[in-house]
């Protein structure tokens, strides 16, 4: 650490928020950056001395604006990255591309989320009127119970349902905009 900057939180702190430094490392390092920006902004930005390194001595500071990304987007992102377990392909301030699976002819199958909450005409989607109800990802039946515990450990409210007509057992979580993510497995006993 340099200068007067406060130390970044310990790794134990990241684990409490469901963040680990497991693979894929690029995504995890970036996730770590976003996390630190949210909880310890002054630890990751420059110290006052570093900030003024090229500024003439004696100048008076007249304004300071900070932006640690959008907590709205982070909350949405957390559900899709951590709950659904999707790998982040790229992220810029107002959008995130997650990989769902390998595609064909070089085009990966992606889920793209765009933060339009800053738009003057923005209104969050309403599940009651939207055609799209949910997005489902398959999990192994043996991992159903562990997945439920994992989701609850992330602080998410988890709903469960059984679909007898197709022998599916489902876990549901919802992102802050109301978009529903389903983790589903085939279970003959259902």
């Amino acid at each position: 650490m340099r200068g007067e900057r406060q130390p970044v939180p310990s790794l134990d702190g990241y684990a409490q928020h469901g963040i680990s430094l497991e693979n894929p490392p690029r995504v995890r390092v970036f996730e770590l950056c976003r996390f630190l920006a949210d909880v310890a902004l002054n630890s990751v930005l420059a110290t006052a001395q570093e900030r003024r390194v090229s500024v003439l001595p004696g100048m008076t500071q007249i304004l300071q604006l900070e932006a640690a990304g959008s907590r709205w987007t982070n909350a949405i992102w957390a559900v899709w990255a951590r709950a659904a377990g999707l790998n982040l392909m790229t992220r810029v301030p107002n959008c995130a591309f997650f990989k769902i699976a390998d595609g064909y002819s070089g085009h990966t199958q992606v889920l793209a989320l765009f933060d339009r909450s800053g738009s003057p005409d923005y209104s969050a989607p309403d599940a009651k009127t939207s055609t799209i109800d949910h997005i489902a990802f398959e999990i192994p039946p043996a991992e159903f119970a562990d997945e439920r515990k994992r989701l609850e450990a992330l602080g998410l409210e988890v709903e469960t349902t059984e679909h007898a007509w197709v022998h599916w057992r489902s876990l549901y979580v919802t992102d802050p905009e109301g978009n529903q993510v389903e983790l589903v497995c085939y279970d003959e006993s259902v």
Binding site: F30, S43, R52, S54, V55, T90, V92, P93
Partner: protein, 109 residues
């Protein structure tokens, strides 16, 4: 007069044209946080933009400190350049802007 709108905007425009103004949607840097600070005296102005993010190419998250000012302070000495000509050329091409990096997360943190 250095503290005039036209002068300030001309400096920023020139830096933008030279790609030395920070681009927050830079595809090579995954942006995590930014901060803008303004400084002034009666005659001079300075704007500092900090950009904290992660570039997979660099390997470690870093904070890029961009400074734009009517007059700059503490510029790198000629010894930090490959030769005197490179130093002089840099100063001539970048009279109102400079940048530094700091690394808030050390390797192994």
């Amino acid at each position: 007069m250095l503290f005039e709108v036209d002068h300030i905007l001309s400096v920023l425009d020139r830096c933008c044209d030279a790609f030395t103004f920070p681009m927050l949607d830079n595809g090579y840097v995954y942006l995590a946080a930014t901060r803008l600070s303004l400084y002034r005296t009666a005659a001079d102005w300075a704007m500092v933009i900090e950009v904290f993010g992660f570039s997979p190419r660099s390997g470690l998250p870093d904070t890029h400190i961009h400074t734009f000012a009517s007059s700059l302070y503490n510029r790198d000495a000629p010894e930090k350049y490959v030769n005197r000509e490179a130093h002089d050329r840099y100063l001539a091409n970048n009279p109102n802007n400079d940048s530094r990096f700091v690394y808030p997360i050390d390797a192994g943190d």
